[in-house]
């Protein structure tokens, strides 16, 4: 083969590559949509043909109908659960970051408290929740504590590692320039810890929602008001499976929204400088 022959071959290859890229881009949206559509269609077909009663398995259409019809019940419930999740997450960030900073400032504090943070993390929250309900007067505070316990650990653990992972030469440089403890934290260890913290935040967002749902299940509507999880539970007692599924879907949607939000925050903080946010050419 001569040199001249290779040029058109390479072009064809480039073209095929470009075509493939285009196809992949298209498929990223169309394929999952297709799967969703097929699943819903066969579900609907099965329920209709086999005449499954709605209190065993409601049809997708019924669920959609319930979503619209019960919106006046579901929307406030969504707000309640969302608020609980959000407050728990904010408190988890404050607690996790605060404790992580305390840990890295003092070895003594870390040695004294870290084992208990682990114990708190590994004990199933479902088992702690009823106790919280007994010892904490306000049911709302109990529910909040419940969600907080689940959410704070990934933030604590990730931020602690992040604060310790600052470049050693940069540490030396800060020493040479006579940096104060605050300057070191503000300009060196905190920015170094940021990607780790944001990784923890992504996990904590999902966990805060799980914690909120568990709290609603165990502690009930007394403290939190009627959230999505308590709505779901109540609907199951009443064999109102349309509403049950509608609440379930809303919980899932909320989880996805929380995750997307955390990912967005992470991207906004890191896209200018961090390796994880770089696009390779």
């Amino acid at each position: 083969m001569t040199q001249v022959d290779t040029t058109p071959i390479l072009d064809a290859e480039e073209e095929a590559h470009a075509k493939r890229e285009k196809l992949i881009k298209l498929a990223r949206w169309t394929l999952p949509s297709l799967v969703l559509f097929l699943t819903l269609a066969s579900w609907q077909a099965y329920v209709t043909i086999a005449e499954v009663p709605h209190y065993v398995l409601p049809s997708p259409l019924l669920i959609a109908e319930t979503l619209v019809k019960d919106w006046e019940i579901l929307w406030p419930a969504l707000i309640v659960t969302g608020r609980l999740t959000l407050i728990a997450l904010i408190l988890a960030v404050i607690g996790g970051v605060g404790l992580a900073v305390a840990f890295t400032q003092s070895k003594w504090i870390e040695m004294s408290l870290f084992p208990y943070a682990v114990v708190l993390q590994v004990t199933p929250v479902v088992a702690i929740a009823p106790l919280l309900q007994i010892y904490v007067d306000s049911a709302f505070v109990a529910a909040l504590l419940c969600a907080w316990i689940v959410a704070f650990f990934p933030i604590l653990s990730n931020t602690t590692i992040g604060l310790k992972s600052a470049d050693h030469n940069l540490q030396d440089l800060f020493t040479i320039y006579g940096a104060t403890g605050w300057q070191r934290l503000r300009y060196l260890t905190a920015p170094s810890a940021l990607p780790f913290f944001l990784g923890g935040l992504k996990i904590a967002g999902g966990l805060a929602l799980i914690g909120a749902v568990v709290a609603e299940f165990v502690i009930g509507r007394a403290g939190t008001g009627l959230g999505l999880a308590s709505t779901l539970l109540e609907a199951s007692y009443r064999f109102n499976f349309g509403r049950l599924y509608a609440a379930l879907i809303l919980i899932s949607v909320m989880g996805v929204v929380v995750f997307a939000l955390m990912s967005l925050i992470s991207h906004l903080c890191l896209f200018r400088w961090h390796e994880s946010a770089l696009k390779r050419e």
Partner: protein, 261 residues
């Protein structure tokens, strides 16, 4: 606008190490009885095999470690911003732009960016990177990152700049370029430099004094003056004078390796 430098024997003293020793874990002698006088305007290379204590000496001068015994004295005491450091890695903060990285030594002294903007931009201009002031480190090549690091080390016009094998990780072409630029920079700002290296050729090209060190225990075995005048350029690299100094330094280095073996 070259800086006037006194000839080698007539410079004022800047820093003196007397009988400095450093021992680790009670019995590993990293540095034994080091005596060194650094004069204003000196470009001194610490040359030696690994483990000869040259980096330890640098860390002691930087104040990152205390000597086990002996003294390190600055003429007139060490003040804020008297010291600039360049490490083997560029050691930039990846989350900060180039200009904010260079601002760091001032920032630690509580100076706002706007109050030292001229100094920062001037330092960047001296290393040829003023166009990249808003870039982030990841957008720069290895050589450019090293230039930012050098700009940061000299932005406060320190009395002494310590360089710990700064060009060891670069390719030879970039390394030669940066060697030339470093000398040109020194002609302009007249800084005093202590430069750690294990390259004979780099030390001869850059320095007016070479301190040859041996390992186990780390110690100084020879001091050589490189009398060739500055400015030195590419022509110097191929001159007989350069070859002769390289031979002397190389002999001393081999001696250093032999006494340690």
């Amino acid at each position: 606008m070259a800086i006037q430098r006194a000839p080698l024997g007539e410079r004022d003293e800047l820093l003196r190490m007397s009988h400095v020793e450093k021992t680790f874990r009670g019995d590993v002698v990293a540095l034994k009885n080091m005596n060194l006088v650094v004069n204003q305007g000196d470009f001194i290379s610490l040359l030696g095999p690994s483990g000869c204590g040259k980096s330890t000496a640098l860390r002691l001068i930087a104040g990152l470690m205390r000597p086990t015994s002996g003294q390190i004295n600055w003429q007139g005491g060490q003040g804020e911003g008297d010291l600039g450091v360049v490490f083997q890695e560029p050691t930039l903060m990846p989350w900060a732009s180039v200009k904010h990285n260079v601002w760091l030594p001032y920032r630690m002294r509580g100076k706002s960016y706007s109050s030292v903007k001229d100094e920062v931009l001037h330092a960047l201009k001296l290393v040829g990177l003023e166009k990249f002031q808003n870039a982030y480190p990841r957008e720069l090549s290895g050589g450019m990152k090293m230039r930012v690091s050098i700009a940061r080390a000299m932005v406060t016009k320190p009395r002494l700049i310590l360089m710990d094998e700064p060009f060891a990780a670069l390719d030879e072409i970039t390394r030669h370029k940066l060697n030339n630029d470093l000398l040109a920079l020194r002609e302009r700002i007249g800084c005093t430099v202590i430069f750690v290296t294990h390259s004979v050729f780099e030390s001869v090209f850059l320095s007016d004094r070479i301190v040859v060190m041996a390992a186990r225990p780390g110690r100084v075995i020879r001091e050589l003056d490189v009398t060739a005048p500055y400015p030195r350029d590419e022509a110097f690299r191929t001159s007989p004078e350069y070859a002769e100094h390289a031979r002397l330094a190389s002999d001393a280095l081999h001696q250093a390796i032999e006494v340690a073996a």
